[in-house]
Symmetry: C2
Subunit: 217 residues, 2 copies
DNA sequence: TTCGTCATGTGACAACTTGTCATTATACGC
DNA sequence: GCGTATAATGACAAGTTGTCACATGACGAA
């Protein structure tokens, strides 16, 4: 988390810093991004940066957190809209988020995020099946566990539902990561194809991949 | 790939280098590992390192490649043993690989690999659904597409089987990554629990997560 | 106004990186 | 014994990060 001083900054200065940080993490993936560039761009001295943030990842995850919050709100809303129908909500959200990731104003930033997101970092963002402080990463998954309609789901405990949600989220990130990888290799797949893949994965997850002997229909 | 000079090195020196590289990537995750430490440990001058390798990731992926090869061989063998039964083979391989990852001599190295493996790097290792050079990362997935028994699988094309395999592999890595994350947070889960989770995920993938209305049993 | 105190701003600095390159050493064929 | 290609070497430039002693505010009390 940014230090208190950061939040006491005059709006103009704070926004200048954030903008510079976005620019740098858009220019280069986390490992290659440099604090030097951010402060040069924002026009603040080096010492000040460390007055506001712990280090590079502190800014980075602050930016990510902002993105998470909006997505999280959208997800909750969608679950309600679909009266707790997990897969209907997921299909909806995936579509929406992908449009955001691919066409939205921050698309190139997200690209760096997804391609170079490791499991350690992902754990800081995506919902974690663990006791969580009231607000933050765990909030969404707890909301989901509480509001998902399980009557038609083959899960038998909170833990199992946690696992399922965790898996679906991971699957989503993986697939988006795959899309960006292809993009950066010039072997771009279309957004439609990306969505088709996700739909297929969801379908498998719902109905399984194994043919039941003699389906009665 | 290491440069030709590297492979012409006297065995003793080459092994010393590899050993030092393993030590460094065991000590620290990729981003924090330093070439300086490797050469200090191996006792070779800086310039020589660059005679053998392109850069840090060149050594790193060389090490990973060695691990991939052995796992790959095991996977193929297991598919044959199970006469192309995808899920039986996967269950087998997962169990074996996990024991390797958790108890094997390279466990701490793998830990760093999995926790800090991003999607971009993963693409270099895990099977990619794309036309592939005869040998390497794509070899396994092509072998699988060719040898998996599809008669009981709900897949209708090579592309779909690719996708399925891709997803299962990703799911595996994600779950192992999760295990290591918990480990590093002190909230360790047991190996048995890890295996149970994977088994559950495979089960869902086979039979689906949605209750068919009125199962006839 | 003058002082004290606490929060901020600042940039020079040490301690590391990495990749290069001119130079030296070695091996091998003739 | 000589020439040439291949390999070894370490000083170096150019960059990075985090720190710290000090300067500059701001604001209330005397």
């Amino acid at each position: 988390m940014p230090k208190p001083t950061f939040f006491r900054l005059p709006d103009e200065k704070r926004e200048r810093l954030i903008k510079a940080a976005y620019a740098e993490f858009t220019r280069a993936p986390f490992a290659e991004a440099s604090i030097s560039n951010i402060i040069k761009d924002a026009g603040i001295p080096r010492g000040s940066f460390y007055q506001y943030f712990e280090d590079k990842s502190d800014v980075f995850f602050y930016l990510l957190d902002q993105m998470r919050e909006s997505t999280q709100a959208w997800m909750k809303k969608t679950i309600d809209t679909h009266h707790g129908d997990l897969y209907a909500a997921l299909a909806d959200v995936f579509d929406h988020v992908i449009d955001e990731l691919v066409d939205g104003p921050y698309a190139p930033f997200y690209r760096n995020v997804f391609m170079y997101m490791d499991f350690h970092s992902a754990a800081k963002i995506s919902p974690t099946p663990a006791p969580q402080p009231p607000h933050g990463k765990g909030e969404l998954i707890n909301y989901m566990v509480a509001h998902i309609d399980r009557s038609r789901l083959n899960v038998h405990s909170d833990a199992e539902l946690h696992l399922l949600i965790h898996m679906v989220m991971g699957m989503f990130m993986q697939t988006v990561g795959y899309y960006y990888n292809r993009l950066s290799q010039g072997e771009q797949i279309s957004v439609a194809e990306l969505k088709r893949r996700l739909a297929q994965l969801l379908e498998w997850l719902q109905n399984g991949t194994v043919n039941k002997e003699e389906r009665h229909d």
